[in-house]
Assembly symmetry: C2
Homo-oligomer: 209 residues x 2
Amino acid sequence: MAENQFSSRLLENAINEFAKLPGIGRKSALRLVLYMLRQSKEEVEDFGNAIITLRNDIKHCKRCHNICDTEICSICANPKRDETTICVVENIKDVLSIENTQQFNGLYHVLGGIISPMDGIGPSDLNIGSLVERISTEDIKEVILALSPTMEGDTTNFYIYKKLAAANCKANITTIARGIAIGDELEYADEITLGRSIINRTPYQETLK
Amino acid sequence: MAENQFSSRLLENAINEFAKLPGIGRKSALRLVLYMLRQSKEEVEDFGNAIITLRNDIKHCKRCHNICDTEICSICANPKRDETTICVVENIKDVLSIENTQQFNGLYHVLGGIISPMDGIGPSDLNIGSLVERISTEDIKEVILALSPTMEGDTTNFYIYKKLAAANCKANITTIARGIAIGDELEYADEITLGRSIINRTPYQETLK
């Protein structure tokens, strides 16, 4: 769509702003803006303010770097969670994904990214120092490295492993299991994953739990 | 996703607001909100304010009801446009679509909807009175009814036609051509459209223009 076709600067502005969002093109942006115009002024203000307030007032948990509204996030502050297990994740989206499984009752540590020289992200850009500090000051029995099984994830895992070892970490360091995803067909699995899934085979009875 | 899974009320609020938009589910909403969190405070404020300002400050053209920032829209105010031809459309999206074709140089009249008893929209909810007034006061040579060829569109066309006739309208009243869309295959065309396209066949030379 041409830039100067709109009869309103305000309309054009709003469309441009929506079109900046990932996955939203100019046609979708127009559709969303026209939807907004049909809503009441109060509803539109609620929408805009919710996003502005979020960006301005959001905090990061001092302990695990998860996002929250208070100094300490609701997971870290929950007395029912197991404080001796820390699950190390890349970002808050991964916290949500793991929480959704309802299979983990420990605490998290959000790195805020993974080591990626291509994107100019080095270890000092991540919350690794505070992880090492937690290991030293808290009573941690297990550190689960739950990063994506990619080149960058593996590099970050290895870096953290070395750092923890250098800090005399007594906790067990584990990673999430790698293998064939449930529902996947063997013939389409890549060789490395399939090979790893044979090496790390588990007793059949454990799959029945 | 469960409602109480988020560690932040602000995050949840923003996700809920995005998820209200048409075509955006809770997963997309989360993705958009996390994208927002990565932008600068200024960028997020620009986004929110662009939408709030649009809703609060938008005006409708006093002549054609198109949306604009001033009393009269840029199309109506453009001295190069043909003021004797009015194209009647359902909404501002249709104005944009027709403008994009670059095949129309007249003015518009935006009805703001079409007659649809199912949705409780009657003639009095539409900008039909002001259309009749324009016909009486302006020097109009042609009124193009450019509504969708649906039951509701045809009903609205007929209602407007009757109103204009009752107001002693001297202008030609035309509708957009109905027929087989360019690129469509004849065998998949519905019978009514195909039948109409035969009745309204046009001289071959006209298609060469």
